[in-house]
Amino acid sequence: MRWIAPPLALAGLAAAAWLLWPRTAAPPVEQIDAASLAQAFGTDTHGFAKVTGHWDYSFPRDTGPHPAYRGELWDLIGQLTDSQQRRYGFRLGFVRIGLTAPGTRRESELAATAVMTAGFALIPCGNAELIQDQRASRTALGLAGAEGDPMRVWVEDWRLEQDADGALHIIARGGGGALELTLQRAKAPVTADQAGLFAAGKGPGFYFYFEPRLSAQGRLVTAAGAAEVQGSAWLDRAWGDVGAGLAGGAGQLAMNRFALQLDDGSELMCIHLRRRAGGGTPIPACLLIGADGKTRLLQRRELTLAPVDGSWASPLDGTRYPLRWSLAAPALDLVLDIAPLREAQELRLGTPLWSGIVSLQGTRGGRTLTGSGRMDLSGYGTGT
């Protein structure tokens, strides 16, 4: 008996769902939901390019925008430490949603070709209050935009831009806080091809790559005052069909995603697929990016990734999220405990999800290991 083997693109497809969301942080229900916004424009491409076949990734070109495609995402998340060893999570995300395809002629200078949304958050470790803000603007009159060569993405005075040396600079302020960082690439980007999550020629409806490690240095302001900080960040990039209607998985599947940076210089990009209705066999898969930049795909039988120790109930609707996870990869002699930097990092974007910063503690080859990362949990809401 030969079983039908649907392409493992699924894993990539589900991963894609995550990349489509703007990552503003934390609870308020009135968040700008770029995923819903994109969907509201419908699935008709209206002259925008379709994602078909293979993309030849090239840098720095692909750091900048791809206006031929309707949707695009720059999603940055990281962890910082100040001189007092206080820890902070941060996130800054930009979403571009095309209104008119390139080549469409519009006379008015007030006419916009795209809508840009952005979300910013500073997440202090412990009980200090979350800092968060969000913005949206049309690309007319320079209010917001996305440009290449050199790459520059902005919504009003929030910016992500690349200098001639390739370093990224971010500036964002709002919600009672501010952040200015310079990000240097410490690892080469990992493209969809290298991620190995796609069967050949069968993409999820968009192209993506991620920068698994950027070293960060700069300054932040919170209610406690200003502080010099340093740390590391992870950048997710995607462009294509933002309106694919993927909400933390697809069909009968829900997906969790983990983007983890370990202090031995390696990273793990993991997904965890499970049935929305429960039952079945959850499917974990991880891509290990070694300190030398080499990648290795770990499949279900080579690892365990499962929740431990109860769950956290959302004060918004009682949805219970498993916030503590355990990961083990015997082939790497790796054991890792994943715990949230703080519990309340829930998002509501049409469907509720928990998306936030996590701390890592574990061992590899007998050596103690720490790290930090990002965890996205979806499909736990009762209404989903």
């Binding site: 008996m1 649907p6 589900a14 069968k202 069909g251 599947l253 209705a277």
Partner: protein, 469 residues
Amino acid sequence: MPSSLITAHRLAALLAAVVAVAGCDNNGRGKAEPGPIPATHQRSGDSAAGYDTLVNRSVVTCGLPYRAYVASTGNPAPEYSLPGRRGLNAELPYGVTAFDAPSGVELVTSNCLACHAAPLNGELVIGLGNEFLDFTGDPVMAVEAAGAYVEGDAEAAEWQRWADRISAIAPWSMTDTIGVNPAQALTLALMAHRDPKTLAWSDEPLMRLPPRPPLPVSVPPWWNVGKKHAMFYNGEGRGDHVRYMMLASTTCTDSVAEAREIDAWFKDVRAYLATLKAPAYPYPIDTELAAAGEELFRSECRRCHGTYGAKSYYPNKLVAVDKVGTDPKLAEQAYYDSDRFVRWFNASFYGEHSQARPALGYVAPPLNGVWATAPYLHNGSVPTLAAMLDTGARPTYWRFDGAEPAYDQAQVGWSYRSLKQGREQFASLDEQKWVYDTTRRGYGNGGHDFGDVLNADERLALLEYLKTL
């Protein structure tokens, strides 16, 4: 061999057969002994109707909703023509079949031809075992991931049922190496999840599961069905053959009534299979050399493999493991560690007209079309017929270069490459899975050393003759 000795051999064989029957009756353990396998009545059927159902129905009565199949696979067009396929099936690859579930959802599932048909010189040959299928992958990934394409409650329920069954038997469906087939272990794992009387499915196994990893088997050709008195390499499938043939239905057929419905059309399928003929060797044959080979065959091979041509005769002989010397694991496991499965089978609907009787031996198969059925032995461990006739020429580690290797007329089999080391020399699983490592459990290439007494010229002659069968 002097005639008195031949007579003595025959007597001994006959005696063994009598002992076998007597022994079985006396100890009641349902084991068989080496020796000739007696014929049993096979039900008749309509072979034309059998062909029609074979290409339009499946005994696996669950599957992936058609819409999800299309979305996840891109609905590839059929590569080979399969006459008589109707409706949606005419648009599907030969190895899958579409059908309407009682829920009204259209499903796609694997069918018999997925393993029992294969391309040969650009044409699909029904009955030729596919020796290039890849069972090394993890089916759980695939069936669970397919859920991303499934929408709505009715489709979800069908997908879930299918995915649950496949996941339950997944550990018995994964082989070390591309080409070998896990069907035997899969079937036993399915039995362990069913009540033999009602055929009801239980998510928890009802008896001890078969050992892992599964022992490898090569897919035998269908065109010998009409000659064989017993099914399976160890000849354990005695009695009515239809219900052995439809055992893949244990994947999703959850009641005796449903199984009986399949049985009603599967006797026609068996009737069709019995009409199949081996494909003729498509390359030139040196008839003089082949004639010399026939002489050798008559003296060296005939007693086990029979005679061919106008007055053909096939002895249906089960040869003891210690005599044939080929990898014993498959026969041993069935003999020593499968009583629970034998009891299950014999007590179930599937055993109503049949008796599973494992023996410590292997059936010497009919050799019709043997040129097309490489690699050889029950586990596919010997890549060519030339290597079958010369144990010294058998590679310990070898691989095919891809799933469509060229045909090697000199060696008689698919072109292969010998390797100096086993799979460990390769870093990636994609490379490793191509390596046939005869040192692994159940993958051994020893035994059947009867060709070692021949000289090089004799082997050439015998090979030439085998091409004519």
